[in-house]
Amino acid sequence: MAARRTRGMTGPDVSRSTVARAASIAEQLRYECSILLELFREKESFTADVLVDGRLVSVAPPSSQLDTRDKLWRLHSALMQCRSLLERAIAREEEELGGGKKGDYETQRKMVKDRLSYLLICTGELLKTAGGAALLTPSLEGLELDGPTALFELKLWVYRIFKEVDYWTKTAITTLDALPSVIAKERVRTSRVRTTRSTRR
């Protein structure tokens, strides 16, 4: 567990707009991640089926027993680790493999990092809305931030980080879609009313 929970979360009342914005950002991040992965594979002559096994981000295993705040906390923690790893990967890449003219890959990489930061802000707001903001202090302890020394291993490590970001972005989309927001409830209620009226007609 890479984070420490300090206070329990009580209610799942999160605003619909924040969830929607977070989901939208996550969708955009997923798209940008896919482009970044494609650019990286193209740059390094990797095929799409390059296998990178093992996870770099360590969080609590998913469970149906987790409530909304725990799910948000887990997601937020994973995304924070992703951002730390991504920042480190960018730094290592610039130091060992970068230099020269900046191209599409570098632009996309920065875009993903910035989008991930926006998503983190949103998930932080959701946590705050859920009453768990002060309780959450994600820890990067134990996170492998240095990476390998061999350059090829370094490239594989960077690629794994990009894949990790992509994985947790998809997880964020799933988690956010599954959030039982108040608005969603209202929408369900409104929908039921409309269905009833339609039936009466």
């Binding site: 740059k43 002559s45 890449e93 130091e95 970068g98 230099g99 003219k101 350059l151 090829f152 490239k155």
Partner: protein, 986 residues
């Protein structure tokens, strides 16, 4: 060296001793050799993995030559086996030799052993030393060597992939390329990349895949260049610090760990990456000597520079440019960033730009901060920028300042360039050229046009807006009022600053025809229409060349150009010139007097084919010829100088050239020698550019009737001429003709008086007629004999004749004809005159028709013998005609003939023997003719006389006054001939 010992004194055992000695010698040699070639001992190995170098050292005494063998341990393959010369190290007392492996030393284990060599002799091999590779079973994982290598462009690099225990090797890829591999050991595979090109920025990946094409391990290779520097100099901008500049090529190694590191005078500095090869480094103080060193993993490069500060001054760009502008000049001011410039002697360059054109002005001085720019145009936009350099020990120009713009002030405009075009009356136009921006010198407000008669002080002024450049004028009133026939036209331009000087042209009011001077052709070249003229002697006037479209006749839009005095040629070029348009050029003298026309030209910028064919092409038949006529081509359609016309005749779709008329003034052409039929003609005018499309006209050539008439008339004329000639010839040869065609017929010897018989002749064939027919042996018995027509028959015939409305006279005469005559047409019997004569002679039976009996003999008679005929012969005098005695045929009683020739020949009238039995002329026959009795009687009397059918002559009775009257015409031609011959009778 082994010795050979031989004892020559022991002769008895010589061979035995010699053999022993050889064996001992060989043994000695072998023993000595084993003593020198020591086996290398204490073989040791040391490695440099980066350089893939293996250092082998051993102890082998004084030996210097060794055999060195390196094997791949697992597969026992020889990698290196050579004889090398290695000296003993004085320091360590060991032999040491370095070997560089193609493959990384980690790829597989190597076995190394050494032996000494002396010529062909070698020692035993040393103990084998093994350099352990990374493919030992203890290292199970995937490995690849070398890792993260940096190599220069063009190098060869060998990579090896060590397969994980239990897995199978797949491929090694270099970038996207699958490489060929060689197996070094059970788990180690190698590949070599040759002549490597530049790698990617992040390096080129060398990846090892397993047999399932799964990525297992990889390495990164960087390929680049060692540093290369040039043009290293240091200079100063602020007169204190130094800025060092140089050029450096891109090494392709840009990462922090592999990028180029720089030091200047042993002080490290960092350069930000830039594609620009120009690099610079700033140093706070001027050191005078500098050393630049650049190092990267592939090598290093260094450059030095040294200079005094005053020799390396490059001023900074002037700042804060300002200006003070006037109409003709402007002052430009600026400031310097450093105070030290106040004592610096500078040279500055000012670049002035106006309407796209740049001019440079150079100024110099100490503490230069302002300059005056002269020769500016009023009301003009300018932009200016400044750069400077050190005036002393000039090093280089500093940077340009930022651009500063200003506008010069405005003043009154220049006088416009004007010209006048007059029509053929007192109307015309006054033109002036629009003032350019520079000529207007300010914001234009309008033009003022003034007409005034100097003698009469008449004046008329028009104020016109600034976009007007022509005005129509009517000088009729001024012409009537003016006594000197001169009007001065003046144009002035006005802008916000005032009015320009006037431009004037003096106009003659005399209406004269255009100058009859010859018009020359102007030739257009690349530079325009080139016009030349003779310079007037003692003239200093300028010229004006005016031109306009030649097809314009009234209020023409003209253009003109003024030519300075002394010039005798000018090239006229205008964007308005159009191909195919004729332009008139006129050269005028330009002086204080009215312009005088000096010369005229016409020309085309480019001649084209006429745009329309000739007008009114007509075809007219003239006799058997065809006249083509046509009208002119309008000037606007000619589009070139006409050179002539081509006349074509079209046959089907093809045109055949009939004629080329090189006279452009031709308006007609006559086509001759054509037969009847339909023709189509095409007339094409042509210029130097070619022919027009042509005008076509058709005509149907009719037969020429006048000519037919002429032919007929000519035929008749020829016939008449022939007859005249024949007549003439006959006249000339009348004796012959008479002899040939009218031989004298022997007079019948008639007993009795024929003349007294007035009763109708009743011819009854007597048994013995008094008329003795001349017998001819060749007489054809088949011919009908003379038939005597009874009166009854006559009456019947007479009735019938009356019904037939036939001339009864003739019919009457014919009733006495022989039957043969009735049945056959009269035909001439010539040319055989003898036959004719014979016919006459045979007339009693056949051919001779008795139409009446003359009381006197006819003046023309045919003779039997043509050869014997003659004018003086008397018929009765010819004895041949008198065969048969006195009962011979004598119908032609010789009448009274006035001719002397005939007189003697005329016989006396014969006495009529019997009225019933003899031949009697029908003197009593009356012809229904209104002629007088005498004549009628004579003619009647001739009827019934025997005559030749051919001659149609009658035997004329006596009493005839004229020979002509004795004849009875049987045909007009015969009559005419008879008359002719009669008239010629002497």
């Amino acid at each position: 060296m082994p010795h050979l010992s031989v004892n020559p004194s022991s002769k008895p055992n010589c061979s035995t001793v010699w053999l022993i000695s050889v064996l001992l010698g060989l043994l000695a040699v072998h023993t000595n050799a084993n003593d020198v070639l020591t086996v290398p001992q204490q073989v040791s190995l040391s490695t440099n993995m980066d350089s893939q170098q293996l250092s082998i050292s051993w102890v082998a005494g004084a030996a210097t030559t060794f055999d060195l063998m390196i094997l791949r341990t697992e597969l026992n393959e020889s990698v290196f086996y050579e004889t090398v010369s290695v000296m003993v190290s004085q320091l360590s007392g060991r032999h040491e030799w370095n070997w560089t492996s193609v493959e990384p030393l980690q790829c597989t284990s190597l076995s190394i052993k050494v032996r000494s060599r002396e010529g062909q002799s070698t020692s035993e091999w040393s103990n084998t030393e093994i350099l352990q590779g990374s493919d030992l079973p203890s290292e199970e994982e995937w490995q690849m060597f070398p890792l993260d290598r940096v190599v220069p462009v063009g190098a060869n690099t060998t990579f090896c992939c060590i397969v994980k225990e239990g897995e199978q090797f797949g491929t090694i890829n270099y970038g996207n390329t699958v490489m060929n591999t060689t197996r070094l050991s059970r788990r180690s595979y190698a590949t070599t990349v040759v002549n490597q090109g530049l790698s990617r920025t992040s390096g080129t990946n060398v990846i090892c895949y397993n047999s399932f094409k799964e990525l297992k391990i990889g390495a990164v290779l960087f390929v680049g260049y060692p540093p290369l520097l040039s043009d290293f100099v240091c200079e100063t901008h602020d007169l204190t610090s130094a800025v060092c500049l140089w050029n450096e090529r891109n090494t392709n190694l840009n990462t922090k760990t592999r990028g180029t590191r720089h030091t200047l005078n042993n002080r490290t500095f960092t350069l930000s990456w830039s594609r620009n090869p120009k690099k610079e480094c700033r140093v706070d103080h001027w050191e005078g000597n500098w050393t630049l060193v650049a190092v990267n993993p592939l090598g290093q490069y260094s450059l030095t520079d040294s200079a005094e500060l005053s020799h390396r001054v490059t001023p900074v760009a002037p700042e804060n440019l300002t200006s003070v502008a006037h109409a003709m000049n402007a002052t430009v001011l600026w400031q310097w960033k450093y105070d030290g410039y106040s004592s610096l002697a500078l040279v500055c360059q000012v670049e002035l730009t106006s309407q796209g054109y740049k001019t440079n002005h150079t100024f110099s001085g100490v503490d230069l901060r302002a300059v005056v720019l002269p020769d500016l145009y009023p009301y003009e936009d300018y932009s200016v920028q400044v750069r400077c350099g050190a005036q002393q020990n000039f090093w280089k120009w500093g940077s340009w300042s930022e651009t500063m713009s200003f506008k010069s002030s405005s003043i009154v405009p220049e006088a416009p360039d004007m010209w006048v075009w007059m029509n053929k009356d007192y109307t015309g136009q006054i033109f002036w050229k629009p003032l350019t921006r520079r000529q207007s010198r300010g914001l234009m407000t309008g033009y003022e046009v003034t007409l005034w008669s100097p003698g009469e002080s008449l004046q008329h002024t028009d104020i016109l807006p600034p976009d007007t450049f022509a005005v129509l004028v009517n000088l009729t009133l001024m012409a009537t009022a003016s006594s000197d026939n001169m009007v001065m036209a003046t144009v002035t331009a006005k802008n916000t600053e005032g009015v320009s000087l006037p431009a004037s042209v003096l106009i003659h009011l005399r209406l004269t025809d255009p100058d009859p001077r010859a018009v020359s052709q102007a030739v257009y070249t690349d530079s325009g229409f080139s016009l030349f003229w003779q310079s007037e002697v003692n003239t200093t006037c300028a010229y004006v060349v005016e031109w306009h479209n030649a097809s314009c006749k009234w209020n023409c839009p003209v253009d003109w150009i003024k030519v300075a005095p002394g010039n005798t040629n000018v090239s006229i070029e205008s964007a308005n010139f159009q191909p195919g348009v004729r332009y008139n050029f006129s050269l005028y003298s330009s002086s204080s007097e009215a312009p005088e026309l000096l010369q005229r030209w016409q020309g085309y910028m480019q001649e084209l084919v006429p745009s329309s064919p000739v007008l009114s092409l007509l075809t007219t038949q003239e006799d058997s010829d065809i006249l083509l006529t046509w009208g002119h081509i309008p000037l606007v359609s000619r589009r070139g100088f006409l050179l002539g016309y081509n006349i074509y005749i079209s046959s089907g779709s093809q045109l055949t050239l009939l004629a080329n008329l090189s006279d452009p003034g031709s308006r007609s052409y006559t086509v001759k020698g054509l037969s009847e039929g339909s023709y189509k003609f095409t007339v094409k005018a042509y210029t130097s550019a070619g022919e027009d499309t042509g005008a076509t006209a058709s005509i149907m050539l009719e037969p020429f009737t006048d000519w037919l008439i002429l032919e007929i008339l000519a035929s008749l004329g020829v016939t008449a001429l022939f007859l005249v000639i024949v007549t003439f010839l006959c006249y000339k040869k009348r004796k012959w003709v008479k002899k040939a065609f009218y031989p004298d017929i022997p007079e019948p010897k008639l007993p009795g008086d024929w003349s007294r018989s007035q009763a109708p002749l009743d011819v009854k064939p007597p048994h013995h007629s008094l008329v003795h027919m001349v017998e001819r042996p060749e007489w054809d018995s088949s011919k009908e004999a003379l038939v005597v027509i009874p009166e009854e028959d006559e009456d019947e015939d007479g009735q019938g004749i009356g019904d037939e409305l036939v001339d009864t006279d003739e019919q009457t005469s014919l009733r006495y004809y022989n039957q043969v005559v009735d049945e056959r047409p009269i035909r001439p019997r010539y040319p055989d005159s003898s036959d004719s004569s014979a016919s006459s002679l045979d007339s009693a039976r056949t051919d001779v028709t008795y139409t009446g009996i003359h009381t006197s003999g006819s003046s023309f008679v045919f003779q039997l013998d043509p050869q014997g005929s003659s004018e003086g012969h008397q018929p009765q005098a010819d004895p041949s005609f008198c065969a048969g005695g006195g009962g011979g045929y004598r119908p032609q009683m010789q009448s009274r003939v006035p001719s002397d020739d005939m007189g003697p020949a005329s016989p006396n009238p014969f006495p009529e023997p019997q009225a019933a039995s003899g031949y009697k002329p029908q003197s009593s026959w009356q012809m229904d003719s209104p002629v007088d009795d005498g004549e009628g009687r004579s003619r009647a009397s001739s009827l019934g006389s025997p005559t030749s059918i051919a001659s149609t002559l009658f035997l004329l009775p006596d009493g005839e006054d004229h020979t002509e009257e004795k004849r009875q015409p049987s045909s007009s031609a015969a009559t005419w001939l008879t008359n002719l011959l009669s008239s010629t009778k002497p």
